[in-house]
């Protein structure tokens, strides 16, 4: 047996599962595009409106209604393609035929063998390259609510309600190659993809609200052999759930195979509360969708000029932003602070703080630690935060004091850091006062001091703690340490 032709990536030793198994994961991600109107009609694309208000003859699939392609949706889809390093090609639409009550025409207009974006890739922040097979345009279905019955599904329900507001909302389905080898990489892929989609304005990409939906194809095999039979995991509603579901499913498949069983190709439902997957439907009963080219639409062939214009107007992507933030702060591109701040879209804010005269490293750390829920544009004016970083840098405030002032700034959406510090009675202690406190602390705990003098760095904690207590947190820890080092004979 030889390596499966679908992917040449082989797990590293630490990525392997027990017993020599390797997991193979590919992700299908559906994202709702942030267009003003639907993919094929002028009805608003808006979440949360009264049911069945954003509808029209096209949305409802009334006899005689015809689709007209939304140019903004094509443009957003091209942005996704470019951001994922895809080739953008002349493409066509197909009809995917199946009956379901919330599918108004009994077919979905989608793309089949000739999609808009093909052959791209995404490089994870950790450096791994994940292939992107395609990213194609299609329309969403309506939303069914099944009332009565135990399962909340259509079978066994008393009746069903259908909201067609979502029908016809533009989607892009992004299909990765089966290049993912760990649940961590799967989570990283989705987090990075979400950051890209937000940055380029293609989608608000909220898994919890369903504007980003992730299905995972999971199989296991021994490296160097063909891939195993895969199962598709649905109903994964958060990045954390994605990791749990993949790990569970790989474990389940290994257990089945180790005990001599075989894996059926099937769609499985992730139950987050139970922490397990269970069979939704077996692939053998899969519908024949009778795909054929959509005769109501003409081929879509974006001109080279249009593609170039979209490319030229694409904002800086997360990877480039991490590089820039790294250059600004000296922190590594793969450091948590850089990754988190870029993921939150707050890199421009950090830059603004620096532009306002702030200290870059402190700006990065303040934003990482104090602005978790503040969004890409925190309420605190960049200049206000800049002043705080300078107060700390110049030792006018200790790190502890600065943290307290930061909390005040966040709470009030800004303010004069110096005034807040003054109001709290924070004042910079002059070094001679700190020196006196250090000497007092040494006198109070000669045992700890002796250990410190003997080279036990950990013993410094007791002395520093006494100084901090005596100064009520006003002393700067770094200065305290420096004074203690000056008291110690040099090695």
């Amino acid at each position: 047996m030889t390596q499966d032709p679908l992917s040449s990536i082989i797990a590293t030793e630490d990525q392997m599962l027990e017993g020599g198994w390797e997991m193979i994961v590919g992700l299908e991600v559906h994202v709702e595009l942030a267009t003003k109107t639907k993919l094929f009609s002028g009805s608003p694309n808006r979440f949360g409106d009264e049911p069945n208000t954003n509808i029209d003859p096209v949305t409802l699939g009334l006899p005689g209604a015809l689709p007209v392609l939304n140019k903004q949706a094509v443009e957003l889809a091209m942005r996704i393609g470019i951001a994922l390093n895809c080739n953008i090609q002349p493409c066509i639409f197909h009809r995917k035929n199946y009956f379901y009550p919330d599918m108004p025409k009994a077919y979905q207009i989608s793309q089949y063998d000739i999609p808009l974006n093909i052959d791209g890739f995404l490089i994870l922040p950790s450096g791994t390259r994940i292939g992107v097979e395609r990213a194609h345009l299609e329309e969403d279905t309506g939303k069914s609510t099944h009332v009565g019955g135990a399962t909340g599904r259509i079978h066994g329900s008393d009746y069903s309600l259908i909201d067609f507001n979502r029908a016809g909302v533009p989607l892009v389905e992004i299909v990765s190659r089966p290049d993912i080898r760990t649940s961590e990489h799967a989570k990283e892929y989705v987090a990075e993809l979400r950051a890209i989609l937000e940055v380029i304005g293609a989608s608000d990409a909220k898994m919890e609200e369903g504007s980003m939906r992730v299905d995972a194809n999971v199989s296991v095999h021994k490296p160097g052999t063909m891939f195993g039979t895969r199962c598709e995991i649905k109903n994964v509603n958060s990045i954390r759930a994605l990791g749990r579901a993949i790990d569970y499913e790989a474990r389940r498949q290994i257990d089945v195979l180790d005990s001599g069983g075989t894996i059926r190709q099937e769609t499985r439902h992730w139950d987050d509360a139970e922490g397990r997957t269970h069979t939704l439907r077996v692939k053998e009963d899969a519908d024949d969708y009778r795909y054929f080219p959509e005769p109501d639409l003409v081929p879509l062939a974006p001109s080279a000029e249009w593609v170039q214009a979209v490319r030229d107007n694409l904002p800086m992507l997360p990877a480039a932003r991490r590089t820039a933030l790294s250059a600004l702060t000296g922190y590594d591109t793969q450091s948590e602070a850089v990754i988190v701040v870029v993921e939150r879209g707050q890199h421009d804010y950090v830059q603004a703080v620096v532009d306002a005269g702030g200290d870059a490293v402190r700006a990065l750390i303040y934003v990482q630690q104090g602005f978790a829920d503040a969004g890409p544009v925190p309420a605190v004016p960049a200049a206000d935060l800049a002043k705080l970083t300078i107060l700390e840098r110049d030792a006018k405030l200790s790190a502890t004091q600065a943290k307290t002032v930061l909390a005040e700034l966040v709470e009030h959406g800004g303010g004069d850091a110096a005034a807040i510090a003054a109001a709290k009675g924070f004042e910079a202690m002059d070094t001679s006062a700190v020196e006196a406190m250090v000497d007092e602390a040494i006198a109070a705990d000669p045992g700890a001091w002796a250990k410190y003098m003997a080279g036990d760095e950990k013993a410094s904690g007791a002395i520093v703690g006494r100084v901090m207590k005596a100064s009520q947190g006003k002393a700067d820890g770094k200065i305290v340490t420096a004074i203690m080092q000056s008291r110690r004979p040099s090695a």
């Binding site: 003859p57 409802l60 699939g61 009334l62 006899p63 005689g64 209604a65 015809l66 689709p67 007209v68 392609l69 009809r95 035929n97 009956f99 009550p101 108004p104 025409k105 009994a106 077919y107 259509i154 079978h155 069903s160 259908i162 024949d288 009778r290 795909y291 054929f292 005769p295 109501d296 639409l297 003409v298």
Partner: protein, 479 residues
């Protein structure tokens, strides 16, 4: 009261010049409907009250000196597969019985804007599937020239309405000959424009890549007039050609001097001898009028019927899937959703519709697609290439419209293949997306009318109407 003119152009002129009122015109046509509709059954619905009210409004505009449209007061009938806002649109199917669209088809709103007055919705073979109008869920339409015979189909109601004098003009839809064949059988003019020249928005789809709306009229000039009125780009139809409507009426009287007319030497056999005789007379007449007759071959034509009966049902199987009982039209309740779909569609669709849905579903199925639908698309390309070669040598091509004259009820309805052969000369044009028209040209067996078909390349409506006008002139001397 002045005499009511019989053509749309004369009616519009007489009303605009106040020789006659729109109300007098509409009352006259409604009286004719009252007199003969029971025998003919051209209509699923006659909108008499709305028509009178519309005519009165036009007369009020004229009296007040307000501007009126170019077709103001011209009565018109619409095939009942074109959506009319708030007015029942059934496709002659039980599955849509009672359905009132919340919007107008583009052709309907364009003609209303031009001042045309709707008199009613005409009968058709259910969902435009058929060649005799016997497949209507609401009973067949009878040929006004011989009520023991079919009017052709699927636009039999619209053809019969014009032939019976219920309206000077009407609209039909043509997927494989559904305008031209009934025009031939009823002795009127019928036009299928270039695919994309007329918006399909609001036309209940049968086979989307083939469907095209066009007019019926008693004269070639009226047919050109109505084609002009409904043609032109529509943003609501992505397949609509992004060009304004062409000027066509002037072409009708330009003559054919210097034109090259194609005669297909390998035309599929099966036409009645009288039909072939009229075709030969048509060539002679055009030659006498200054045209040159050029022999051409269209070798792929013999495969057209087979390709059509894969492509059209395939698209139909998808287009008609929306009639599922969920949102509109008939619903037959059952224990669960899938059973409801089955019961609704079993009760709502007639045999021919079911036959084509099953045929099309099969043709598109995994494992059969390449052998059937895929191969049919290749034949379609070959036919287009045949036409392309032919139109390098000729301006238009002449063939019979229908191999036979109007046939008696029941003659073919139980033999689908015999019925399908009615469209053998009309189908290739639809596959190529080209325009074609049928012009009455003398009579055949039983003294029933024969139609001659003029085929032209894409957007070749102008040369097509030149030849149509010449044939109409020559037909005056042929009986």
């Amino acid at each position: 009261m002045a005499t009511i003119p019989t053509t749309a152009s004369a009616i519009a002129a007489a009303i605009a010049s106040k020789q006659i009122t729109a109300r007098e015109v509409i009352d006259s046509y409604l009286a004719q409907i009252t007199a003969r509709e029971t025998d003919i059954h051209a209509f699923n619905l006659v909108t008499a009250d709305a028509a009178r009210a519309h005519a009165d409004a036009i007369d009020a505009d004229i009296a007040a000196g307000r501007p009126i449209g170019p077709l103001a007061g011209v009565p018109i009938a619409f095939k009942d597969n074109m959506c009319t806002h708030g007015i029942e649109t059934t496709c002659s199917s039980k599955i849509l019985e009672g359905w009132k669209p919340p919007y107008d088809a583009t052709v309907v709103s364009r003609l209303r804007d031009a001042g045309a007055v709707m008199v009613g919705k005409t009968n058709l073979d259910e969902f435009a599937m058929g060649s005799s109008t016997e497949n209507s869920a609401f009973g067949p339409t009878r040929n006004p020239l011989d009520t023991s015979r079919v009017p052709g189909g699927s636009s039999g109601g619209s053809a019969a309405a014009v032939a019976a004098g219920f309206a000077p003009v009407s609209l039909g839809s043509d997927t494989g000959g559904s305008i031209r064949q009934p025009a031939a059988l009823c002795g009127v003019v019928g036009v299928k424009p270039t695919y994309g020249l007329v918006s399909r928005y609001g036309l209940c789809a049968y086979a989307s890549s083939l469907d095209q709306i066009g007019p019926f009229a008693t004269t070639v000039a009226d047919a050109a007039l109505i084609t002009e009125a409904i043609a032109g780009h529509d943003v609501m139809d992505s397949t609509s050609i992004p060009q304004p409507a062409p000027a066509l009426v002037a072409s009708v009287t330009q003559g054919v001097a210097g034109m090259r007319i194609g005669r297909v030497t390998d035309l599929p056999a099966g036409a009645e001898p009288e039909v072939i005789a009229r075709l030969n007379e048509a060539f002679t007449a055009l030659e006498a009028a200054g045209a040159t007759i050029v022999d051409i071959t269209l070798p792929s034509l013999s495969y057209a019927l087979t390709a059509y009966y894969l492509i059209a049902p395939a698209e139909a199987s998808s287009n008609l899937a929306r009639y599922d009982g969920v949102r509109y039209g008939l619903r037959v309740n059952a224990v669960d959703t899938n059973s409801m779909y089955g019961a609704t569609r079993a009760a709502g669709f007639g045999d021919e519709v079911k036959r084509r849905i099953m045929l099309g579903t099969y043709a598109l199925s995994a494992g059969y697609y390449d052998a059937y639908y895929g191969k049919a698309l290749k034949v379609r390309r070959l036919i287009s290439e045949d036409f392309e070669r032919a139109y390098a040598q000729v301006d238009v091509i002449l063939t019979p419209t229908s191999p036979v004259v109007a046939f008696p009820f029941g003659d073919k309805v139980d033999d689908p293949m015999a019925m399908y052969l009615c469209d053998i000369y009309t189908i290739p044009t639809n596959l190529a997306g080209h325009p074609a028209m049928s012009v009455p040209f003398g009579t055949g067996a039983h003294g029933l009318p024969v139609g001659i078909q003029v085929l032209a390349p894409a957007l070749g409506e102008a040369p097509m109407f030149r030849v149509g006008g010449a044939l109409e002139q020559a037909a005056g001397g042929v009986k």
